[in-house]
Symmetry: C2
Subunit: 334 residues, 2 copies
């Protein structure tokens, strides 16, 4: 119980254990790593000494000599957003299959956290996967020399890979389905706050045009259930004859479902709703959500696969192969 007076407590190393047990470094190493070539009583003595001293091996020293661990950094804006939860779970699963470690960073949807995270990450992981909203040049600056795989984001620099989400056919199928069900007045709840309209809206517009449907009834929604509810209210107030809505994502759609019930519109009879993402959460609401569904497991697996190729330098996939297609999956809401 005597602490070294004043000075910073020196780290306990394998030498300390060796001295305490009266053996050499190598013998301590043998005991700790369950190797052969050590007497049982010696091993026990070493283990006791290690425990008594509170010895913890340095993962850095160990990692330096046997270079066999890869760690990747997974950066997501908000783990509590179910979409990112699914992506994270998928990435974890794919990484685990390779025996990789995954350090998860939640940037809390704040751009300034991104840079801090990147700075901190760059000296701790072998590669980075995730969502970033910061400019490419900053991203490049902080990830110098590391493989980077972006998800659902366009990139211009050849420095990065990115997984593209292709929902064009899926959205087309969604509109086709609504039309087949007799809907002619179809609105959209888009993602609010972006300067330009979303790509998902473009897909919607294109598909609507193919069926001669007016694609002008669009309201921006905050990316939350409450936001979806509010947006639906606004949309229906402006266009009471709307009988179907397509939404930017499932969270917004779920908010719309809830709001429809409050407005006394039953789903899908009075109002059909189709979301985007295909969250597992969509199965929990009533009626189960119809959605242009993404295979998040494939998304995660693809991202990790590309990281593996970039790390080894063999056959990295090109943009054409880094695509996950979304497909219409009917629940009961449309």
């Amino acid at each position: 119980m005597v602490s070294s007076s004043g000075t910073e407590p020196r780290r306990i190393t394998i030498h300390d254990v060796a001295r305490s047990a009266g053996v050499s470094r190598q013998t301590v190493s043998r005991a700790l790593n369950d190797k052969d070539e050590i007497d049982d009583s010696t091993k026990q003595r070493v283990l006791d000494a290690a425990r008594a001293l509170g010895y913890r091996p340095s993962r850095f020293a160990r990692g330096l000599v046997r270079q066999d661990t890869t760690t990747i950094g997974l950066v997501i804006p908000d783990l509590l957003n179910p979409f990112f939860t699914e992506v994270a779970a998928a990435a974890l699963e794919a990484a685990r299959a390779r025996g990789w470690h995954v350090v998860v960073y939640d940037t809390a949807d704040r751009a300034e956290e991104e840079l801090g995270t990147l700075q901190v990450i760059s000296s701790q992981v072998d590669a980075v996967v995730g969502y970033f909203s910061c400019p490419e040049d900053e991203l490049e600056l902080f990830t110098r020399g590391m493989p980077v795989v972006l998800i659902g984001r366009e990139h211009h620099s050849a420095r990065f890979s990115s997984i593209r989400i292709d929902g064009e056919e899926g959205v087309h199928a969604a509109v086709a389905h609504l039309v087949a069900e007799g809907h002619t007045r179809i609105g959209m709840l888009d993602h609010y706050g972006r300067a330009e309209p979303s790509i998902r809206r473009e897909w919607f517009t294109t598909a609507a045009a193919a069926y001669g449907i007016d694609a002008g009834m669009v309201v921006g929604a905050d990316q939350s259930a409450d936001g979806g509810g509010a947006a639906l209210k606004t949309l229906l107030a402006a266009h009471p004859d709307v009988t179907a809505v397509f939404t930017f994502n499932d969270i917004i759609a779920i908010g719309a479902l809830r709001e429809a019930r409050r407005l006394g519109r039953s789903v899908p009879q009075d109002l059909a709703v189709i979301g985007f993402d295909g969250l597992q959460l969509g199965a929990l609401v009533e009626p189960p959500l119809s959605s242009v569904a993404l295979d998040t497991r494939k998304l995660g697996a693809l991202a990790i696969d590309q990281v593996a190729r970039l790390l080894t330098g063999v056959n990295p996939l090109g943009a054409d192969d880094l695509v996950v297609r979304a497909e219409l999956r009917l629940g009961g809401s449309a």
Copy 2:
């Protein structure tokens, strides 16, 4: 484009960059870490050489010399289970505030994955937080020398800390509320598959007894929404006069809500439902779920706080301080 024939491609080190740029190691280090004492043109030359060679610094070598990073391992059974998502998010937030890194391991609810995870983890992190179902002696064996904080699990060895979840008062308040609303026939959907009844059921039984309520109407439920729905069906078939249910957790409660709607029982008029956990998800369903709510952020913060104390060895909290109390939070389902 010439690859070294046959042999394993040697790692590119700071020496290679130094030689290529015609400078010393130290100068390369200065360029890479944005230090002073280097000429701008030299720095650029080094950076170019590093990029051309595809140089990536070794985090192990760097970590070995400047020992300033702590990494903790977070082990959870299933990230897609919303409860664990919230706990994970809370732990990430608390760790981020300290500048720590968090490696997340999803054991996919399989005990055999736990041991593999532990083995792999032990050489990669400074401490472990999470859920484990394996026996304590195995846990001890694989975490030798590392601080371990368990969540929501009893432990007997002084080797571990654990965060206890205390829902006794909260469940009592839930039953009191139901009684005050005029309910006399209250059932419970417990967690299915455990040998012994859950602690949450004990709390329910105790509280019911205090109000002279029969606590015998209990059905086991699989820990999923579907499981909750099926269990409610079974319960109501056996006891049609039940007007209120308390559930093991919110996921089961949400399944019960859905099933109630299918059975034509409106909530809360015909059937009151109170869950446990207080998930954010509960606000997305209709009506919003009443629940004996846990402060998951506090849970995560407390776990990380204890890890910090254990790592430094100063004032680790005792069992009495490692408690998170659950409180009744009314939505609209009861």
